[in-house]
């Protein structure tokens, strides 16, 4: 399994996410939503005929609980976020993937070093558990962070 960092323009970000999720629709995935609410992210996917029934959403934008099957975690609690991702990975059997939309948003709430440590922890754990990771980041945001985390990914797609 591979880990990939996709750096794209803000305009193309959603299309790129749709494309990546659609390619993996057949198996379950964990969707960490840092840019939009779970509802907004899911609506975007559904509009593009992407099935979301196998997606496990972690909503880091709103704390308002709307659905039982959605986790709401504050973006400044990276330990909890990391724990939740790892727990999902352990609990979901078989092939699975992880979408992080978008990494650079974490910089608003945490220091670069903390975010870098979080990314390292996630990529190591996913590599150990054969989980495909696709992380997104808009081109204009957090360039210094991107320089710090490049090496944690198998592929960087600019």
């Amino acid at each position: 399994m591979t880990s990939e960092l996709i750096i794209t323009s803000v305009e193309d970000l959603q299309n790129e996410i749709n494309k990546q999720v659609k390619a993996r629709m057949a198996y379950p995935g964990i969707y960490v939503s840092l840019n939009k609410t779970q509802k907004s992210s899911e609506d975007n996917l559904v509009k593009n005929n992407i099935k979301t029934d196998k997606l496990f959403f972690i909503d880091c934008v709103t704390s308002e609980k709307t659905r039982e099957d959605v986790l709401h975690i504050s973006p400044n609690d990276l330990d909890k976020l990391s724990f939740a991702i790892n727990t999902f990975i352990k609990d979901i059997k078989g092939k699975k993937f992880l979408i992080i939309d978008a990494l650079s948003t974490l910089l608003i709430y945490n220091s670069e070093n903390k975010v870098a440590a979080f990314v390292k922890q996630i990529t190591e754990f996913t590599a150990d558990n054969d989980v495909e990771v696709i992380a997104f980041s808009p081109k204009t945001k957090g360039e210094e962070l991107l320089n710090k985390i490049f090496n944690f990914f198998d592929k960087v797609n600019k």
């Binding site: 379950p28 029934d53 196998k54 496990f56 039982e68 099957d69 986790l71 909890k80 724990f83 939740a84 727990t87 999902f88 609990d91 979901i92 059997k93």
Partner: protein
Amino acid sequence: MKTKENINFGKKSLLLFMILILMLTLIIFSIRLNRNKLTGHAIETLNSPNQTDAGIFNLKVEIPESYKNINIGKPVVFTAKVLNLANDKRVDITLKYYAIDSKDNIIFTKSETLAVETQASFVREIKLSPDTPFGDYTVKAEIIYNDNKEAESQDSFKIIKDNKSNIEIIFIVIVIVTIIFLILIFSYSRIKHFIERMELKSKIGQIVKKKMK
């Protein structure tokens, strides 16, 4: 002249006689006084609740005030004062002493042979079992001489709750509670973190189980 001399002799004889009677009176009074001193002690002995004499010996058992109320497991100390009223020679007596509870059960007994000439005083210690319950107790002693009980005496004491031990226990409990409290304060965030993680894990487990059906 002879008559005058005779009169003077008669006066001198009368004076001498009177002096003699006075001296005799003093001697008798002195002897009586000494006898009364001894008898007085015996009377005091008889009148005192913790001493009796039945014959040639007098015995007084006394527990010092500091041993009147003892803590559980602590020894009781008493003094036994023996008076040989016969007061003629050194004799061997048997001093037998007991500790008796309020129901007249003997919980301790010991006897020993002691030499007494005129009077003697002995300090003895009774070590009671740590299991001895709280309550009123009596130390009773007897003098056995020529197989006869010649005198007996007793005094009482109490076994009370060990206040010092209670204070120590309270202190230990306070220290332990404080330590536990401090541990809880310092580990509160860890415990809270652990509980949160367990709740999150359980929730994720339920979500995955529900969706993957």
